[in-house]
């Protein structure tokens, strides 16, 4: 039996991945999280002196705070199991990655355990976020200096 035959049998035996259902679930869960974020933005604009531009910061902070509480109580795990990428892509997924790592390594002490491992997973988010922001800014600078688009 060679590799291809083996792979064929494996493909037949494996349960089919319900792609469409997963996408639908991710859409709904991600949409609900983003709706909550939009409502928070409106809340901060209505009752505090924030504009559309500046209200994003307290909104993100609040969402990460909510994600923190949900992760600590174990509810976010259930949401993530149902929603998949829909709960991982918004900023709550980032908060979950930070806080679950912190909880996991609490037994190793606060400095080397929590402090050293907190950004284990989220560190790559920060690194590639900064990197991709740099690349996008570079592309836009080039396009502006050529004269294709304006700021």
């Amino acid at each position: 039996m060679d590799q291809q035959q083996f792979q064929k049998i494996v493909d037949e035996k494996n349960p089919k991945v319900p792609y469409f259902l997963n996408i639908l679930k991710a859409f709904i869960v991600g949409g609900i999280i983003c709706t909550i974020g939009q409502l928070l933005t409106f809340f901060y604009m209505r009752f505090f002196p924030f504009t559309e531009g500046t209200a994003a910061n307290p909104t993100v902070a609040t969402l990460v705070f909510i994600a923190m509480i949900l992760t600590g109580t174990g509810i976010y795990k259930k949401i993530a199991q149902f929603g998949g990428a829909g709960s991982a892509v918004p900023v709550t997924g980032f908060g979950n990655a930070v806080i679950s790592a912190a909880i996991e390594h609490k037994s190793e002490g606060y400095v080397l355990g929590v402090g050293g491992n907190m950004f284990k997973l989220a560190g790559s988010v920060i690194l590639f976020g900064v990197l991709s922001a740099f690349v996008v800014a570079l592309i836009k600078t080039i396009l502006v200096s050529i004269g294709v688009i304006s700021w």
């Binding site: 409106f42 604009m45 209505r46 002196p49 924030f50 504009t51 559309e52 531009g53 500046t54 209200a55 994003a56 910061n57 304006s150 700021w151």
Partner: protein, 130 residues
């Protein structure tokens, strides 16, 4: 059940049609030369404006898909108004917060001093950056 949904949708549909009160200039008496400029803009579907001796504040409702060009639209309208009123400071913005603030000024019908204070407050608000 079905009927109530239809009635609800009709309400939403008809509610979207009555946009005439979305176009307000306060105080109304010196709006003579601002109105034609705002009237001919095609990318917006409403505006609320406050005027005093030194400032012109215009909060605009930009059409849904034109919002991608928000900054450009704001600049374009600002230039047109500055041409008409060279001696005043003009602020045109599509920001929802400023729209609400302008609405509250119009609702309270503020006069001279209070109006000036509120306009300064809004201007400092719009300058804030993240």
């Amino acid at each position: 059940m079905k009927k109530s949904i239809i009635v609800f949708l009709m309400l939403l549909l008809l509610g979207a049609c009555s946009n005439e009160k979305e176009k307000v200039i306060f105080p109304a008496d010196n709006s003579a030369s601002l109105k034609p400029i705002m009237q001919k803009q095609e990318t917006i579907h409403g505006y609320k404006s406050v005027i005093n001796e030194e400032n012109i504040l215009v909060a605009i409702n930009i059409n849904r898909f034109a919002r991608f060009n928000k900054t450009k639209i704001e600049e374009k309208i600002t230039k047109q108004i500055e041409k008409q009123f060279p001696e005043r400071q003009v602020l045109v913005t599509g920001d929802q917060k400023i729209m609400w603030e302008v609405e509250s000024i119009i609702d309270k019908k503020l006069k001279e001093e209070d109006l000036k204070k509120s306009i300064e407050k809004i201007k400092s608000l719009s300058k804030e950056e993240t």
